[in-house]
Symmetry: C2
Subunit: 359 residues, 2 copies
Amino acid sequence: MQRMVVGRLVRKKALFSASTSRAFKSFNTIAPSLLDLDLPDIWTSNPTETTNHHLPFLRNGAASDQFAAVIDGKSIADEIRSGIAGEVRRMKHSIGKVPGLAVILVGQRRDSQTYVRNKIKACGEVGITSMLEELSDDCGEDKVHNAVLKFNDNPSVHGILVQLPLPQHMDEEKILNAVSLQKDVDGFHPLNIGNLAMRGREPLFIPCTPKGCIELLVRSGVEIMGKRAVVIGRSNIVGLPISLLLQRHHATVTLLHAFTKSPEEITREADIVVSAVGVANLVRGSWLKPGAVVIDVGTNPVEDCNSEHGYRLVGDVCYDEAVKVVSTITPVPGGVGPMTIAMLLGNTLDSAKRTYRFG
Amino acid sequence: MQRMVVGRLVRKKALFSASTSRAFKSFNTIAPSLLDLDLPDIWTSNPTETTNHHLPFLRNGAASDQFAAVIDGKSIADEIRSGIAGEVRRMKHSIGKVPGLAVILVGQRRDSQTYVRNKIKACGEVGITSMLEELSDDCGEDKVHNAVLKFNDNPSVHGILVQLPLPQHMDEEKILNAVSLQKDVDGFHPLNIGNLAMRGREPLFIPCTPKGCIELLVRSGVEIMGKRAVVIGRSNIVGLPISLLLQRHHATVTLLHAFTKSPEEITREADIVVSAVGVANLVRGSWLKPGAVVIDVGTNPVEDCNSEHGYRLVGDVCYDEAVKVVSTITPVPGGVGPMTIAMLLGNTLDSAKRTYRFG
């Protein structure tokens, strides 16, 4: 294939250390703030200069003979949670306050009940107060709305989480819009998403799962700037915000969805692949470029008669195939999942710090 | 090159005609509303089925021997403006009201003065009332802020436009944030951008230039769904929102910026290329796939001693080269430019209709 290179890209040195006065340094994450990431785009056309086509990977060479490095999301999340616990103690000791998270759970979905239980348990472990409002499936929308308003007004609540999905008869958008922006620790409010997308802006909260994915990449030493990233799946809560976030980190991002033709060809061009579709084993080994980095957000139950509960969890990526091709991969479970809860705790801590102006 | 196809994409029929109750039908544009565009993403994995690799183009074959179809933006914009003028007359006749646009111009920049003059002239031609607040370069930020608040409170103003760029000593974000969401006809407010990005949401206003680009594509019979689109440049006012908008139209979008490696290779994979960088002739013929569709947003002055003013305007795309390769292209000037003003008039009309509940 003929490759012509006629574009020269001039880069300014990344000023990651130069914090602006507006940039808010998040809890003990190590990813730089979005405002600190903003760099001028300087394009020039220069037909004589060439650039390198082949990007450096964490590990190169005869990739099919070796196994990928596996990112231990649980251990990274544990480290972050331990840092959060320390900050909560320091806050309690200094000003006599602790962060508070309110969770609204509507209905009896087993998976939602499990998620909520895990979140509340995690709060307890780091010293964050949690409040749970359980409502029945057939309660009126106004009851959920009122629960949101009550927590909006409660000064000891710094984060409000409406467990999704809500029952079908409820207007999810309307209820989520009622959550105070200052307490939207999920980061799903469109104003937060707009500020996530726009250069020069910073959302009050970055959605937890996307924030966790970036943290895994940064802590694993994966360079994002200038890399080709493919995000598979465009949900409002994972795929879309992770694509926006990778863009703010200066990756060249392609967002794939179910109307994409030949997703396997496009994915094969990516240095970083994030899959958040919810289809077991959608992404095969043949979809992946040797040496790529894979972040698998999918958590899909598949039948397994050898397992205690009759099923086990697998990701969107066919792990056994991928591990022979890529340089780095997150496992399912134990990859992105634990990071989501850690980021939720961190966002709640950040919110309380902002409220009490506690640095 | 080996191409393996292991993903089958199930598509639901586009329900473009099925308008939802929330979807707002814009003035006489023909692009469907964003909510009407929302379709479920249904992914399945099926290793046996194959898909077509080569997408249909408007024109195919020995592309280098034939010239591209040139999209006449001026004539399309004239048609839209004539429709807007008819709607404004109907509104005046029915309820005795006309739309009003307020423009705030700070400083003496020649280009800004020209843009503002053109916008005000265009308002007059379709019967929209315009108000101009001119402030000096060295006026305080509070003066600009107060001008915004004054127009926010003025019931005969339905759109407020702060001509950018503002003088460097002013906080652009703060001033733009002060513009009432209901009058943000530029669509630059982060809440509008968030709603533009998120499935199931609809912004009050779609930014004018991106909206004009989509309208040119749709009116030229270019199918967007399932096509690979590359947007070159990621400004908050053009590149970023056009990438979000193309995604809502189900293109597979890659957003390129100055940190992208080998932009020419990525661009060469695109069926639709939108360039909004502001570098004359950045995109060469060799960057383009035969049969691609090119929307050139760039408007760059280059020296030309044969021209009356000593310069002429060219796009980001090297037109003479591109026209031999692609199937369809917008010229500069006379392509996207006239559409931007037409969309501004349309957004102002929509805003007035919304205010007066005039259908």
